[in-house]
């Protein structure tokens, strides 16, 4: 029996790698939407295209995570049947398509603007690009009705050193009845800047989509470009990329573990985790010449090689982290007052995590056994030994423990990568060719999807999907029934990206 993805009928697009893209009929489009709703496949992305190639595209992955496909529906009438009507995870993506491209998802349950907050000179900036109307209706937040409810608006400028976004709480006393996020404040129009860019410039843009995941975005973009041009990065480059990716994961996980504890007023964890994070960033700087390793991954390979000094810095780093981290884990585990805040707070139900295809630690803390490094998998992880920790409690505590276990796995990975680092070149030259490619990479936060279409060595179209798209809505579900004062704790345990989401 063919798998669900193999059974999708459609016209296969040439020059699309490594996974197929199928141009489908409206009926097939709708049957795929229903398959998502039934759980036969998981939604990976939904985006649009304007002008002559006006279409809606949907990336899906089979339930067993082995196969990926993109299905495209051409929309000459600028409409397509709503996926969100049957599968809620698609709703915000469709709102973004409507606001950016002007395509209308017919039958969509929610068509309020998304990302467009009413401040742009243009309407449908990636589509018709028409002047914005002079007067726009005020944004209507979703209602919550009942006696003695009150609203708390928060943001876009928050109290800490964090990104901007607006949260609208409706509370009954201390308990949150409804939270609705309104995002888009850091929308920079990255996809419009991508169009027509050289591959080099586009890679720099991709690396600045979400600064904390610059390596993950760099790799995802490189994979997409290399697939489109049928080029393979050398083995040594693949290993160095993975090394950078694991350092990025370590730095962010240390930062997060400390910051979550800090939001429960346990600052000693924050102070010590901050030291560990700094040690990782300094090692990254010593190895690759940049603390966040920005622009070190390039399409075709990597920009800098690891010298003997770098390898020594890494083995010293591993030694110091292994000395200090287990004691912090013990401290977390043995502090009842801290656990009192994190255990059973902000629970994400397993069925929601599965439905939304919750990326990263958010999914893995709620029973979703998914890691793009394992399946569909990519080099060099197929040659390395590591486990994917999965927990089921779905609370703040579980999201901390998944990170702790992932730190331990990343330490093992760094060790293996350094020990087995193959010799050879670190980059392959790229031709000014044409083609389409998809990159799918596990960042620290979850899976990053990049779709790219190239012509003559330039980017025609590039779509970048941050893992946060499928995490933000779950934060709203997780906070329901919790007290307002626990929101920072829940929010930090998700640590969603604003910039990656807003693009």
């Amino acid at each position: 029996m063919p798998t669900f993805i193999a059974s999708i009928a459609g016209k296969r697009v040439d020059d699309r790698r490594p996974w197929p893209r199928l141009i489908v009929t409206t009926d097939t489009w709708q049957s795929v939407a229903h398959a998502l709703a039934d759980g036969r496949a998981t939604l990976l992305g939904l985006w649009g295209d304007a002008g002559a190639s006006c279409a809606a595209h949907m990336a899906i992955i089979a339930a067993d995570a082995t196969e990926i496909a993109v299905v495209s529906l051409e929309c000459p009438e600028e409409t397509f049947p709503s996926v969100g009507a049957v599968h809620p995870p698609a709703i915000r993506l469709e709102r973004a398509i409507h606001s950016l491209y002007g395509l209308t998802p017919v039958g969509a349950p929610d068509l309020r603007p998304w990302l467009d907050l009413g401040f742009w000179d243009v309407q449908y900036p990636l589509g018709a690009h028409t002047p914005a109307p002079a007067v726009r209706p005020a944004y209507a937040f979703l209602p919550a009705e009942g006696e003695s409810l009150h609203q708390i608006p928060v943001g876009p400028v928050h109290a800490g050193i964090i990104e901007p976004g607006h949260f609208r709480f409706t509370a009954s006393g201390e308990a949150v009845v409804r939270l609705e996020a309104r995002l888009g404040y850091v929308h920079k129009g990255i996809e419009s800047l991508m169009a027509g860019a050289t591959i080099e410039r586009a890679a720099r843009l991709a690396a600045r989509t979400s600064g904390d995941s610059t390596v993950a975005y760099g790799i995802a973009f490189a994979h997409a470009v290399e697939a489109a041009l049928e080029v393979e990065a050398p083995r040594r480059a693949r290993y160095l990329r993975a090394l950078m990716a694991e350092l990025e994961r370590l730095a962010n996980h240390f930062g997060d573990i400390g910051a979550i504890c800090n939001d429960a007023s346990f600052s000693i964890m924050h102070a010590h985790c901050g030291v560990l994070r700094e040690l990782v960033l300094r090692a990254a700087d010593a190895c690759f010449g940049h603390r966040l390793m920005m622009d070190r991954v390039v399409p075709g390979g990597v920009a800098v090689d690891l010298g003997p000094d770098g390898a020594a810095a890494l083995s010293d780093l591993l030694k110091r982290l292994r000395q200090r981290f287990p004691r912090l884990v013990e401290l977390y585990d043995n502090t009842a007052s801290l656990q009192d805040r994190t255990v059973s707070t902000g629970i994400v139900r397993a069925d929601l995590a599965r439905q939304f295809g919750a990326p990263g630690y958010v999914g893995r803390a709620s029973g979703r056994n998914f890691d793009a490094r394992k399946a569909p998998g990519y080099a060099p992880y197929d040659e390395l030994d590591f486990a994917v920790p999965v927990l089921t409690a779905g609370d703040v505590n579980a999201r901390i423990w998944v990170r702790i276990r992932e730190v331990e796995q990343s330490l093992l990975l760094v060790e293996q990568l350094v020990a087995r680092l193959p010799n050879g070149p670190i980059a392959t030259a790229l031709d000014a060719d044409s083609g389409e490619g998809l990159g799918f990479v596990e960042g620290f936060r979850g899976d990053v999807l990049v779709s790219v279409r190239l012509a003559g060595g330039r980017v025609v179209r590039c779509h970048l999907r941050d893992p946060s798209w499928f995490q933000w809505p779950l934060l709203e579900a997780a906070i329901e029934g919790n007290i307002v004062a626990d929101f920072p704790l829940c929010n930090k345990s998700f640590n969603c990206s604003y910039s990656g989401h807003d693009l």
Binding site: I161, V186, S192, L193, L292, S499
Partner: protein
Amino acid sequence: MRRTLLESLTQGPLTETPPSPDDAALAELAAAVARTARRRLGRSLAIRQVDAGSCNGCELEIHALNNAFYDLERFGLRFVASPRHADVLLVTGPVTRNMREALERTYNATPDPKWVVAVGDCAIDGGIFAASYGVVGGVGAVVPVDLHIKGCPPTPRKLLQGLLALLEGGAAA
């Protein structure tokens, strides 16, 4: 925990010697900031950070200023939660059209005298994001800027040099 605390006592601090203030920053400040304002600000500054559209890279390094290696607070510099408590706005990012009004309102909520420090290459002129329909430009296109700290993102050491110049500028007046 006891072991961790005891070790902190015996091992000595991780905190490093501060860098000397950035000369270019001192020169920029001398030209930009009025003497009276500098005298009023004194040697302790409250900083309010505003992300006006950054990729979050600059925020990560600004965060690092609070870690044990850089320990910003030893200089009398501290981050505050409200612009109403702030002397300095530390603004990152190209200013997006969606954040312009929020930045203006934050600036207006900050009491005089105040300084604005633009952090990162994007904050100077919009950087790689300039020319987008979603971006106004650098921070200077929306609020007056007293000091620029370059870098993508600037390292914590670079940030520290810039901020120390702010204190030196105040003391020299």
